[in-house]
């Protein structure tokens, strides 16, 4: 596709349930980022992949959050035992990675998660 694709666009779940959010980056982009954006806030860094490995997962709030990128392309963000405070828009972005292109992230439209 032409851009970063995220599914689902909307997810409503109940407290305590398990959720998976998927990100399909731009073809050829080696770096993939997950951010979380709550109402009235800027995007908050969660995790960054360079290829298949998590280069920096310092933003994951606790061990209920986990992300994978097994083949260096599609990534899945997994949230266990969801809590109401997890409600937010989860943004995925990809980039070419290091060098002068670092920092130009191409964002998806986001997955809006609502935990009831």
């Amino acid at each position: 596709g032409a851009g970063v694709s995220q599914t689902p666009s909307n997810k409503v779940t109940e407290k305590g349930k398990y959720v998976e959010l998927r990100c399909d980056p731009i073809s050829g982009h080696t770096a993939l980022y997950w951010y979380r954006q709550s109402l009235g806030q800027g995007p908050e860094f969660l995790i960054y992949f360079q290829g298949t490995g998590a280069a920096d997962d310092s933003g994951l709030p606790n061990d209920r959050f986990f992300a994978v990128r097994p083949e260096g392309s599609v990534s899945t963000l997994k949230i266990q035992r969801t809590e109401r405070g997890d409600s937010a828009v989860y943004l995925c972005a990809s980039s070419f990675g290091r060098g002068l292109n670092t920092g130009e992230l191409f964002f998806g439209e986001g997955s809006r998660l609502t935990v009831l």
Partner: protein, 108 residues
């Protein structure tokens, strides 16, 4: 640690007025600074970056290391500039940290 501060949440101006969106940062190394923009019902996208020293849609931003600032400026605002603007900092680890953003509203 890297931190980005955008002290104002909202700036409302009339068309043709000058605009300055403030951004201050905290980082111990040499940062790369960016401005991202999100227009209504569109994705977050890059507006400009300090290393390019370019003007995009009439906007410019100068990195002031002494004041640790990267304010975004435009001499004459247009209605189509109305959007959310986020200042962002990339450190050596390629992690991009965003500020909380500011809503720019340009009235006719």
């Amino acid at each position: 640690a890297q931190r980005v501060t955008q002290p104002e949440k909202l700036l409302s101006v009339f068309k043709g007025a000058p605009v300055e969106l403030k951004c201050n940062y905290s980082y111990s190394g040499s940062p790369e600074l960016f401005w991202y923009v999100q227009y209504s019902r569109q994705r977050l996208q890059l507006l400009l970056r300090h290393i390019s020293r370019e003007s995009i849609k009439g906007f410019t931003a100068d990195l002031n290391k002494g004041e640790t600032s990267f304010h975004l400026k435009k001499p004459f605002a247009q209605e189509e500039d109305s959007a959310m603007y986020y200042c962002a900092l990339a450190g050596a680890n390629s992690k991009l940290t965003f500020g909380k953003g500011i809503t720019l509203s340009v009235r006719p």
